[in-house]
């Protein structure tokens, strides 16, 4: 068992590393398709009136006139040693730029995940224990939430709770209530995913014999829910959370824009519009690292938790609707 697990773990870790490196290279190739970069774009702005000679001297200082392959190789070798390079747009180290904004995004993502879990649990609980009509209505909520674009939710929340009711100040974007509403906007579509998986698994578990037996012993609804239905459903839900991390990061890009938060999302926006390749490569790789790490963790932990899973195969792809 031990050596089998060790081999499995080593394989998964190696795969994870390869994926991260590929993500870095992939971003380089994609962004390099469009000619230009922050340095050249500023120099060529006609308002500046620089001569060709001045432009070429500065471009060569930044090494932007070297062949694409050479640039990729150099930046990749730096990346492997942990050096994220210098932003071409702001001339500051990329690590500093990401470091300054990472905290805000982590807070938003964590709060959104919490909101999503609470909503999903509430919906799950409701579908089991509310009267039939309400339960049926509740079952359609995940689908409704998945149809709401998070930027519309965000705009409406701001319109109602900030402008009309004055509950929070939008320019105080990192404050408690503003963060809460941003988390709600980000968390609602995410809660839909978790709720769908939860409901499917709850239905499945509730149909099992042991659940009927537990019900007949007459414990309170909450205890029934928590101990007998929720626990067996938790592993697939954990799997979904690993998938949902990517969605949280995606959604954060838009939500941060709307709520005026200075997080990774706003950094992405600024970097994309100016073609600041070093920052984009670092952010994409960071996102890939997070996704891969969370999934890796789940992959490594799952076999330890669920003895039914064989080590050769993948973990039970929770009955995620496609």
């Amino acid at each position: 068992m031990d050596s089998g697990y060790a081999a499995y773990a080593a394989r998964r870790v190696l795969q994870a590393v390869v994926v991260i490196l590929l993500a870095y290279v992939f971003t380089f190739l994609v962004i390099s398709v469009l000619p230009g970069d922050p340095v050249t774009n500023t120099l060529r702005n006609p308002q500046n009136g620089f001569t060709e000679e001045q432009i070429s001297r500065i471009v060569s200082y930044y090494g932007l006139d070297r062949p694409v392959g050479v640039q990729l190789w150099e930046s990749l070798s730096r990346f492997v040693t942990g050096d994220l390079g210098v932003s071409l747009r702001s001339n500051l180290p990329v690590s500093r730029m990401i470091g300054e904004v990472l905290g805000s995004t982590l807070v938003l993502a964590a709060s959104a995940l919490a909101v999503a879990l609470v909503l999903a649990l509430a919906i799950g609980f409701g579908t089991r224990f509310l009267p039939k009509r309400a339960a049926r209505l509740l079952r359609s909520f995940p689908s409704l939430f998945l149809s709401l674009p998070n930027f519309v939710i965000g705009l409406v929340l701001i319109q109602v709770f900030a402008f009309q009711l004055g509950l929070f100040r939008v320019i105080d974007a990192e404050g408690g209530l503003a963060t809460f509403f941003a988390a709600v906007a980000l968390g609602i579509p995410v809660s839909a995913r978790i709720a769908e998986v939860l409901i499917t698994n709850l239905d499945h578990e509730a149909g099992q014999e042991y659940a009927a037996v537990a019900r007949s012993r007459g414990p309170g609804r909450a205890r029934l829910f928590a101990r007998h239905l929720l626990k067996p459903s938790s592993l697939p839900v954990v799997t979904v959370i690993a998938v949902v991390v990517g969605e949280l990061l995606s959604g954060a890009v838009i939500t941060e824009q709307i709520f005026g938060r200075t997080g990774i999302g706003s950094l992405v926006q600024r970097s994309v519009t100016t073609q600041d390749l070093p920052v984009l490569q670092a952010i994409v790789s960071l996102a890939a690292v997070v996704f891969v790490a969370v999934n890796l963790l789940a992959d490594l932990v799952y076999p330890l938790l669920d003895p039914r899973v064989r080590l050769g195969g993948k973990r039970q792809k929770a009955a995620v609707p496609a």
Partner: protein, 274 residues
Amino acid sequence: MSVATTAVSRAAVRIPPTVVLSFLVVAIVLLWSLVPGLFTSQDPAVGVPADKFAAPGAAHWFGTDQLGRDLYSRVVHGTASSVSSALVAIGIGVVAGGLIGLIAGFAGRWADTVLGRLVDVLLAIPEFLLAVIIVSSLGFRTINAAVATGISAVGVFARVMRAEVIKTRRAVFVEASYLQGGSRWHILLRHVLPNASRSLLALAVLQFGLSILLIASLAFLGYGDPPPASDWGLLISVGKDYPLAPWLIYAPALVMIATVLSVNRISRWLRKTD
């Protein structure tokens, strides 16, 4: 056999009313995208500046915008771009993703490993981030946003296709077919594709709705066709700058939500009848 078919046809006839409504909505939206002129006679690109910011009413069902253009007309004409770009995205996802999944499932371990890592990369990069980077590389037009959305969907389709291929290959009747002398092509065409297409269809319908949202989000941030185009996401993005005219946001938002909701309803129904 006949009992099974009558049971199936009876189930097919009993379509829930919400699904019927959803089909209706989707049909209207598709018609808007194909023949917008049939639904509105007002010009979406030209307006009467003196009529700017008119609230919804008899003359302008959704009101007018900052240049006096009829918003209903703009929404209807914008449907073509929003819907057709989502179809392009799904097309790319199904074709490219399906192909990758097919090869990964059929060809040897080496191809599977390489393609598997490629798909992993596509799945590891958050969808929106991936789309943003691809659009910024191709240029800020809605068609490029569609391509970008399609590429971000490739991973999901590839995974599903690969899983279906492997499942089918392992099925007993396929082994039997092999033993009887059936070639790989034969298995592919007669067993794998038909079986895979059902789950791919349900996935495609679901992803269609998600693509509409993703493309609208891209348009909202400016990664799409500029005005006077009237993509739903762009309409909302322009509308939010004029808080005194909230219909500029609510009208396109409600149309978009209704469309995606209907698509999702149909997708769920398809999965249930599987």
